[in-house]
Amino acid sequence: MPVEELARDERFNQITQADRMADGRNALIGDSEKSRRSNRLTPARPDASEAARALMHGIFVGEIQALEGAGRTCWDFTTGEEAPFELKLDMARQAWDEARHVEISLKLSDWMGSEIGQYAENTVLFQAACSNDPVLRLAGVNRALEGLAIDVFTTMKEFGEIAGDPYLEFCEDWMLADEVTHVKMGSDWLRKITENDPERRKKALEFQGIVDKMFSYGGSRSDSEESSFAIARRFRELAGFTEDENDHIADLGMQALNERKAQLREKQAAAAN
């Protein structure tokens, strides 16, 4: 199903990842190398409220797309021939979980004072869920994207904890538990289905790498304080990621961060000239 055909009501404004990266408002805050300021999403940031609202809206639309992606995997593949029956059961379970996450995000957005459509909807998540191979979908969605969700929810949970918002902290913790389950589903199925097909496993892991890099959002996730989100290593390990895999994702994030900074410097130099 093409991403353009995702059904939405008139409140939603959809954009692509290219649109998002071209938006100058998404530049890193300040010149971190000079000011040594952290970009981590914490209540101490001057734009903390707005950034948290924008992130919550991003989580909300991301959960809708995750719901749609899991549902399509139930539908797109012939049971038994293209996808095992039990894999589809897991995807149906994930659809239910994502539906609850949308409900939670809606309630939290309301709590935080934002509305549906206040921010744009980046459709990149669903694009990663459109592969013709169910194993690639599991690698791209369950391992890469849901892995990112672990990082984001951990940050948001900490944000709630520091800000003294038990409502936010409570909800994020519950969603985090589900995400660890989803990543583990992806890890387990990837291992099981490609047990005797190393080529397919290699392809799936390569696809996961591409999605991981795409979702490093120009360096928004890494071990550096300059990134908005840290790598939630402990929860990732619970979900089946090895230490090497976590290191690799952290490296990808740093690489993306440096690339983004170089681009910014180029733009600044061009503007100065």
Binding site: M1, E5, L6, A7, R8, D9, I64, L67, E68, A70, G71, R72, T73, C74, W75, D76, T79, G80, F85, K88, L89, M91, A92, R93, A95, W96, E98, A99, R100, V102, E103, I116, F126
Partner: protein, 219 residues
């Protein structure tokens, strides 16, 4: 203190369960295989439609219901080997070709403007037929020998009733003009005719009508 050596009746006075039932092991396995096939088709289409429905509340309900029917399919999948069917795929089949035609027609609406048709197919035709077939099975199987099926049927029926009510309320909330009512009724009639031909989710005899006594039944 009660005397531990005093004999008691094997069945308590309030336990009125009966041994006879209408279905043999083979007939039960056949029905359960049909149920699994029908529930699988249902959770698959509900999952597929999530992305095609623009109404946010309905999108979320479909996600929730998708899982419930997947769980029903899983319960039937696990019941089959207990009914001596060690290859569950062998009996995971549609009751007949007419039921396949029904599923094709029910899953046909894809466009974002066809939410009424999607919901009518599932909640006004398909799910009511689950409720009737399951109720017939529940009321006619042996309350002692087939207790595992009864336990699953009771759990599943509770879901079916809740989902039917959810779906019906969603449909009512979408019917804003007489034309909408006509659309819903026309689609329902079209699908109900196909289901009539199929005889129900377990074929003719799904609710006992037009069925011969299955072989091996103890009545």
């Amino acid at each position: 203190m009660a005397d531990p050596t005093k004999p008691r009746a094997s069945f308590a006075p309030w336990d009125r369960r009966e041994l006879p039932g209408s279905f043999s092991v083979e007939e039960t396995a056949r029905r359960v295989g049909n149920y699994k096939w029908a529930e699988t088709k249902l959770f698959e289409v509900l999952g597929g439609w999530i992305a095609t429905v623009p109404e946010l509340d309905i999108k979320l309900r479909l996600g929730t219901h998708c899982y419930k029917h997947a769980w029903h399919a899983e319960l039937w999948h696990k019941r089959l080997p207990e009914l001596r069917e060690m290859n569950p795929a062998r009996l995971t089949v549609p009751a007949n070709d007419a039921l396949v035609r029904f599923i094709d027609a029910m899953t046909e609406p894809e466009d974002a403007s066809l939410t009424i048709e999607k919901l009518v197919g599932v909640y006004r035709v398909y799910i009511p037929h689950f409720i009737s077939a399951y109720t017939y099975h529940l009321n006619n199987t042996s309350e002692i020998t087939d207790m595992p099926t009864i336990r699953s049927l009771k759990f599943i029926l509770q879901d079916e009733f809740e989902d039917w009510r959810d779906g019906e309320m969603l449909i009512q909330s979408l019917l804003e003009t007489p034309e909408h009512v006509d659309r819903a009724a026309a689609h329902q009639a079209k699908l109900e005719k196909l289901m009539l031909e199929a005889g129900g989710i377990a074929g003719h005899g799904s609710i006992g009508i037009n069925t011969q006594a299955p072989q091996g039944a103890l009545s």
